[in-house]
Symmetry: C4
Subunit: 240 residues, 4 copies
Amino acid sequence: MPEPIDAARLDLVLANRILAREGIVDAFGHVSVRDPRNRERFIMAWARAPELIEDADLLEFGLDGELRQQTDRVPYLERYIHAAVYEQRPDVMAVCHNHTLSILPFSISKTVRLRPVVHTGAVLGGEVPVWNIADEFGDRTNMLVVNLAQGRSLARTLGKGRVALMRGHGSVVAGVTIPAVVSACINMDKNARVQLQAEQLGEYTPLAPGEIERPAVAPGEAPLPDRAWEAFVRRVSDRA
Amino acid sequence: MPEPIDAARLDLVLANRILAREGIVDAFGHVSVRDPRNRERFIMAWARAPELIEDADLLEFGLDGELRQQTDRVPYLERYIHAAVYEQRPDVMAVCHNHTLSILPFSISKTVRLRPVVHTGAVLGGEVPVWNIADEFGDRTNMLVVNLAQGRSLARTLGKGRVALMRGHGSVVAGVTIPAVVSACINMDKNARVQLQAEQLGEYTPLAPGEIERPAVAPGEAPLPDRAWEAFVRRVSDRA
Amino acid sequence: MPEPIDAARLDLVLANRILAREGIVDAFGHVSVRDPRNRERFIMAWARAPELIEDADLLEFGLDGELRQQTDRVPYLERYIHAAVYEQRPDVMAVCHNHTLSILPFSISKTVRLRPVVHTGAVLGGEVPVWNIADEFGDRTNMLVVNLAQGRSLARTLGKGRVALMRGHGSVVAGVTIPAVVSACINMDKNARVQLQAEQLGEYTPLAPGEIERPAVAPGEAPLPDRAWEAFVRRVSDRA
Amino acid sequence: MPEPIDAARLDLVLANRILAREGIVDAFGHVSVRDPRNRERFIMAWARAPELIEDADLLEFGLDGELRQQTDRVPYLERYIHAAVYEQRPDVMAVCHNHTLSILPFSISKTVRLRPVVHTGAVLGGEVPVWNIADEFGDRTNMLVVNLAQGRSLARTLGKGRVALMRGHGSVVAGVTIPAVVSACINMDKNARVQLQAEQLGEYTPLAPGEIERPAVAPGEAPLPDRAWEAFVRRVSDRA
């Protein structure tokens, strides 16, 4: 039985590769996990493309976004996204920042908000809030979240939700486990693809509030095994 | 010469992998076959991603959707879709439930119905009916078909057809053989992709009623060998 | 130095696999070549998916569309497309029939004709004619070209051009060599994809008549080696 | 430590394969590098598909676009694109010409200009200029840049920018290093895909001028290691 920290590190390495394979991240984007041993720490790779991440690439950070170990590896510039979400959200144990193409049109649209339109999109929680860095930090930034003030601003927009969009940039996705965050990213992507096409057809019926809130398992029931995680892991593990 | 039950089980395993490879199902979605030995039974995998299904994953169900064998494997929550279709449709020998992305915009559109626009889409039969779970079960469900009442409601919408959409969820596809259901799913997907793009160009000519009803073989002719099935099987069998 | 017939058969096998790999054909669709030894014959596979075609699958046909050899293999139902084009077009040495998805919206649109919008789309020759089987054969067909009368009707619509669309069905593409037909199919597909997206942006500039007619090589120049064919062949030949 | 010329040649071979794998070029399109030993020379492959390029395929050219070595290999017809850009732009060390599908609708649109809408699209610099060969050379060309006069005309449209579109043809992308040009191509493609979809949703917010100009690193900072290049190289190097 692996120690929680070892299981977390293994799942984090897998999540990096899965998110790359599933098209959620490309050479950019990152995923992290809160340290199961210490709530004031989180674990994330150094600034390397997710598809290449191995255990030796993982680093430890504090909730100020700064390294807690010696290394000459360069950390992701936008680690403050993760730091601020862990700081503001005690319930969150994993975070992904990505530039998933399907949600970007919704991040810049003046008229249409990304929202649940298919049952697996319920994770979006409702209309997905859009954080516009220019609101607090002006319109001469490079749009990256490069300090804790910007990270906290984004975390305020995320609020208690699972997902927030970042105008002209990407999204942040939070969850209680790594598999939950990975699935939330993939379901966000599918929902966005469907919604964009539905917009092209005209008026459409989104999910009703009761269809968004209704939990997938009744109270007291054990959560279902994660059918998707097993498949995702297999896809990045198979060798021809 | 394999026994019909062995051929059915083999085709079912292949169908799972084919539907995954062809993008009809992802980690979710399922396909089943009526037991050739007993019309009151159907065979389907336990709640595992279709791309991973092997013969040992197959379970036997009754038309009430409940297991007919001992197992600690968890069955698909939505087995009631299959059970109800087999119950209501004596002609149907195979069923697929999927969340194919291309049909989802049509499942929520208030103005456009999925309908045959290309000759291989004739299998859709005409405007494809949309089952909205909220009509009978209210707008506070999780949109899954989790009991026989809901399954029968969906089967009523399917009626005598090959395909029904499920609002904001997916589709159910029924057929007389496993290869027929697999091809119907793939042709449904292609038709939907074309129709969505045709909508973007403006007015278009769908198939005429006579072009939908006209059978592919004249009465008395032997059905053509299934060119597509051989290719689909090869694609999931080849090793580099 | 291979005999022309052997080179033709080899290129035909390669073309089948290339057209499948490049997404022009799926399990359906076919490609043929006029017999270099006898203008009254053409060579095409039996009714098997193009991605699986090998030399042993090739059959010989006359320009009436009927077999000229003994076999228990079933030929493609729509061989009459090829027969009629070879009959009507002495300049044509290779023909492809396909259901390429990108051109199908244009085959049913009432308002937009597929036409050259990018330089590689010049092969389309201008607005691409659409053959509607219902015009001559009524609206109760299965839309397949199953006899020589239908094939000749389609060939009349093709006229002297390289491409004709078939309403709600697909296209026929003709050329002077197999590589030319393969490239024409792929360029037709790319042009269609671009044109559909350009339509979504609003008004756009198509190719001018002089940009369509202008040959790629000046008179007297040797034609350029086919850069694309080498790449296409390599893609279906490489083993990991 | 490899000589600069060897490093340049190696990166050029890799760039060819990367641009092919990433869908920026297909069998057509090309990339070059200015010779680090001689600013009046550039290096590019002969007229072969980028995915097949090896070191032995590389040739040397002068800024007049003509070969500087003996060979019976045929050079790319459009080498004058590269020659003219190197001639007009002393700062440019690498150039790519491509027919990337996503930018082609913008190259022919009468109403919409490609422009930065996502942060990685800042490399576009603003509204991307469109070079229309017909403006200077009439509407009876084959639209290819086949001499230095046409190349210089295109280079004038490119001006001091990183990217220019070529109406109904493709784009030219310039940069200070090969990895920079490769990333610029890929980011141009992603921006175009997002912008096309955003157009379908209605009005949207593009990047502000200050968000385009703001450099990714503050003055005095060392540039960040190229996370993407490592991933791109690995993708074309892995063998199953």
